[in-house]
């Protein structure tokens, strides 16, 4: 017997939890099934070495939807911030660092043109990012849908672009699809500034600075701030705290959350979902299944391609979802000393991407299936602001390492050891002696991220954020409205609009789609 009123959410990542919270608030019976022992998915805090804890995958919050945070009362459910609005420190081996925030240079030497350019660049990109931000909480229009809502949705997007004004609209249309290399070269002189700014456009993506779509990826990254997020922030207790607060909000609204409950498959009754079967063999009936897992895992792993029509399967198979970034965690016996950088600034976001060519060369290796010999890094030392993460006097360093392709040639222990060694070499160049301070380390290649966080391809965003996989084409045309082509099945993860980053919007939009379909029935 199918309990048609029950809704199962597969996966307790932050989007699954947000979705569950909204559905429970709407009075639905919701059960969240998380495979891991704790909720959070890729927004999780975990102990990687005894007494050293770190954000296991995502390590900065900059996209969390402020409306969701407010509506779900995440603060009253325990979410506190260790740091909000971090500065960026572009590290130079010689110690001529650049420190900037929101387009304003705070420390370092730049030409007058670069200073002015930085402010203008930031303002303009933020303005463009606002167009994406406005789409975050809209269900993307269905291509060729022809209905009134579809036309209105498309018209709203067109109007947002038109309202930029003639000059900015032209500029937006000119650069939205192109590469960050060309854009930065047009504006700036300083190689260090260009290298650091470019990193924001390629992190986590299968893109080098010269790859088209990198401007779009940058705008996506900035869209959180454009929507009112305070920018780069670190929650007290690590990124897992966001998930914990969402879980608490979902529970408070009446949702049941079960951890260590991996789902084996989604069950069907003729052409509709009828529930899920757990790895344990337990069957849970439900009229609606919302999956926080990535599209391939949901549709091929849990449902099975044979239950879907071939054209759709073909499109999902070609959803580009190969990860390109590794995650590095270091347990340090003391605070590393970066050359000519105050310990105060060591708590900001540190980036190692000295120039555009360095970054492009790092990408060149990855294109051909190798980890970068000279990786670029985004580094945080969260234990400076959050003493709960490491024993007194000791620290944890969390870094995103570019590039590490999801490729069998760059997988396994040897590749892992080699990239760890290269990362430490790069770090040691900027913070001499750091290597000797390491008491424990962990490096997660995309294949490890795939295994650990159950994300096919180990891609942070469940799939590339590129024009052809964006909005009404995310994950694939014809299935971009959260509802999958099988009755009662929905996606609510980063593989849907508006994509990756710890945002929560995909979860909330999916909940709205479930409720809208119920109303229409």
């Amino acid at each position: 017997m199918t309990d048609r009123n029950r809704i199962v959410v597969v996966g307790g990542g932050h989007n699954g939890l947000a979705c569950a919270a909204y559905l429970a608030r709407a009075g639905r019976e919701v059960v969240v099934l998380e495979a891991a022992a704790q909720v959070g998915g890729a927004a999780v805090t975990r102990e990687f070495s005894k007494d050293f804890r770190v954000s296991g995958c995502a390590h900065l919050s900059y996209l969390l939807d402020q409306g969701i945070a407010r509506e779900l009362k995440l603060a009253s459910h325990g979410l506190k911030w260790a740091r909000e609005g971090l500065k960026t420190v572009a590290l130079s081996p010689a110690g001529d660092h650049l420190v900037y925030k929101d387009g304003q240079l705070e420390t370092g030497t730049l030409s007058d043109g670069d200073r002015k350019g930085l402010a203008e660049y930031h303002a303009r990109m933020l303005k463009f990012a606002r167009i994406l931000a406005k789409q975050h909480n809209r269900k993307p229009p269905r291509l060729g849908g022809g209905g009134r809502a579809e036309l209105m949705g498309a018209a709203a997007l067109g109007l947002d672009i038109r309202l930029l004004g003639r000059e900015d609209m032209r500029e937006f249309l000119r650069i939205a699809g192109i590469n960050i290399y060309d854009v930065l070269e047009e504006i700036f002189e300083s190689p260090l500034l260009k290298g650091a700014l470019a990193l924001d456009a390629v992190m986590g993506a299968n893109l080098g600075p010269r790859s088209n779509n990198s401007v779009l990826a940058l705008l996506h990254r900035l869209s959180g701030q454009a929507a009112g997020n305070p920018g780069l922030s670190i929650p007290a207790g690590g990124m897992g705290s966001i998930s914990e607060a969402m879980a608490a909000a979902a529970r408070a609204a009446g949702a049941t959350i079960r951890t260590a409950s991996p789902v084996k498959r989604i069950t069907l009754e003729v052409d509709r979902v009828s529930g899920v079967e757990l790895e344990s063999g337990e069957m849970i009936t439900a009229g609606t299944v919302v999956s926080n897992a990535d599209p391939a895992r949901t549709l091929f792993g849990l449902l099975g391609a044979r239950h879907l029509e071939t054209g759709f399967v073909h499109r999902v198979r070609h959803f580009r979802n190969k990860g390109m970034a590794a995650k590095l965690h270091l347990a340090l016996e003391a605070l590393p000393s970066f050359t000519r950088l105050s310990s105060e600034l060591a708590g900001e976001r540190l980036v190692i991407s000295p120039d555009l060519v360095y970054l492009e060369h790092a990408f060149d290796a990855a294109k051909y299936g190798q980890c970068s010999p000279e990786p670029a890094l985004e580094i945080t030392i969260p234990s400076l602001a959050d003493k709960s993460l490491a024993p007194p006097g000791k620290h944890v360093l969390s870094a995103i390492v570019l590039y590490a392709p999801f490729d069998e040639r760059a997988n396994g222990d040897a590749a892992r050891r080699e990239l760890l060694d290269r990362s430490l070499a790069v770090l040691d160049r900027h913070a001499p002696g750091l290597r000797r301070q390491v008491v424990a380390s962990e490096l997660l290649l995309p294949a490890d991220i795939e295994r650990e966080f159950r994300i096919t391809g180990g891609h942070w965003h469940h799939g590339e954020l590129a024009l052809d996989q964006f909005m009404m084409m995310r994950p694939v045309p014809g299935a971009a409205q959260y509802e999958m082509p099988i009755g009662g099945l929905y996606l609510c993860g980063a593989g849907c609009h508006p994509g990756g980053g710890v945002m929560g919007s995909a979860g909330r939009n999916a909940a709205n789609a479930v409720l809208a379909t119920e109303r229409a029935a």
Partner: protein
């Protein structure tokens, strides 16, 4: 060099049109030397006289070389599940030793091709189709434990069609072949190999299709023409086949519908309902390609109707526009011939909904030329439900000798 070696050879491009293993015989018999290219094989348009060849189909028996037909062998634990997701009908109902006519669609419920599924032995299927399908089949195979081998060039085929066809098969040693029911498959020892016979065909008459390996192709041909001589056996080309298939009510891809995977304009393809093949769509199957779109079409209504027309006069209405009584164009003819057996001017037409209901007043605009002068007639069309040719011997089992 066998056909397989030749087609698989890296030098294949030096000869882009192939000769069937029957070519030494068909070439000798083709006194008109008229050929066209069918899926990269030379195929005879007609051998001596298309009307006499047609007459052989209906009054004795005629042989058509089917070798160029696209064939795939489909095996593996998921072969049935694979086919059931691929095609619109329920393949589980095609028992071992049976053949089923079917169509397959894309996700939009538009027909990609039609063909026959031969359930040769338990779990071993052969799909025969007009168009090349390896790409689509391979795409369909994701998620299934299934093996797909294109064996177009490894199996030769002959259609033996007409009232005396059963007698000829008995004479070449297919003992008991008269007991094969329509769409049934039989296996017979022949010349030290196995001859597969199916009671199938494209003529709507008593007839069989014969399948054998290329090495034994000529022996089969010679046996048929040797033993068939007193039964009036003749070779036939595509002209004669064309008349008989329209009489029988059979569609041809590229003629009566445009394969959906080749259509560029979205309204150029057709759904099964728009080809009057709704009987081949089984919605009780939980998933097959096009199911969601076809359910939607059932709700919203189809765009087109496919009809058989009996047209007044004797000028075939090839490619004619069809008009309603107010001279509005409501569709076009896709196939048309004079039917010698029905003594009717027959056609298939694709009409815009709601046209094509029995009793609708429809007119065909027919052009024909006499000594470089064009004439036009407006001929009244009558929608007919039954095929133009459907003799009892087509189904009678055991098959008679005539």
């Amino acid at each position: 060099m066998s056909i397989k070696d030749a087609m698989g050879h890296k030098e294949h491009f030096r000869k882009c049109v192939w000769e069937s293993p029957f070519h030494p015989r068909t070439a000798a018999l083709n006194i008109r030397n008229e050929w066209h290219r069918w899926k990269d094989y030379s195929t005879a348009d007609a051998f001596f006289d298309e009307q006499l060849e047609y007459a052989a189909i209906r009054n004795a028996c005629a042989v058509f070389d089917l070798t160029p037909m696209t064939k795939h062998l489909i095996t593996g634990p998921d072969a049935l599940a694979f086919l059931n997701r691929l095609v619109t009908r329920d393949v589980a109902k095609i028992r071992p030793g049976r053949v089923g006519y079917t169509i397959w669609c894309d996700d939009n419920g538009q027909v990609i091709d039609d063909g026959t599924i031969f359930h040769l032995r338990e779990g071993v299927y052969r799909l025969c189709s007009q168009e090349r399908q390896l790409d689509w089949l391979t795409r369909n195979a994701f998620g299934f434990d299934v093996t797909i081998v294109e064996d177009t060039h490894d199996v030769t085929g002959l259609a033996l069609q007409g009232p005396t066809s059963c007698a000829v098969l008995k004479a070449i040693g297919c003992t008991g072949v008269q007991n094969l029911k329509p769409f049934e498959i039989g296996f017979y020892a022949f010349a030290g190999t196995e001859l597969t016979v199916s009671r199938t065909g494209f003529t709507g008459d008593l007839g069989y299709e014969l399948w054998i390996d290329p090495e034994h192709a000529l022996e089969l041909w010679d046996a048929l023409f040797d033993k068939g001589k007193i039964h009036g056996i003749r070779p036939m080309g595509t002209h004669a086949l064309e008349v008989s298939r329209i009489e029988a009510g059979f569609l041809a891809a590229q003629v009566d519908f445009h394969p959906a995977d080749q259509a560029i304009m979205i309204d150029r393809s057709r759904s099964p309902f728009e080809l009057d093949l709704g009987r081949l769509v089984d919605f009780s199957k939980p998933c097959f390609n096009g199911r969601r779109a076809l359910l939607e079409e059932q709700k919203k209504g189809s765009r087109y109707r496919f009809v058989k027309l009996d047209i007044e006069g004797n000028k075939p209405a090839r490619s004619a526009y069809i008009y309603d009584k107010d001279k509005n164009v409501v569709g076009t003819v896709t196939s048309a011939e004079w039917s010698p057996s029905a003594k009717k001017n027959i056609a298939f037409a694709s009409l815009h909904m709601p046209w094509g209901r029995p009793g609708d007043e429809l007119w065909a605009e027919i052009y024909y030329q006499r000594e470089l002068k064009w004439y036009k007639v407006m001929a009244r069309c009558h929608v007919t439900e039954q095929p133009f040719w459907d003799p009892p011997r087509r189904r009678a089992t055991p098959a008679a000798d005539f």
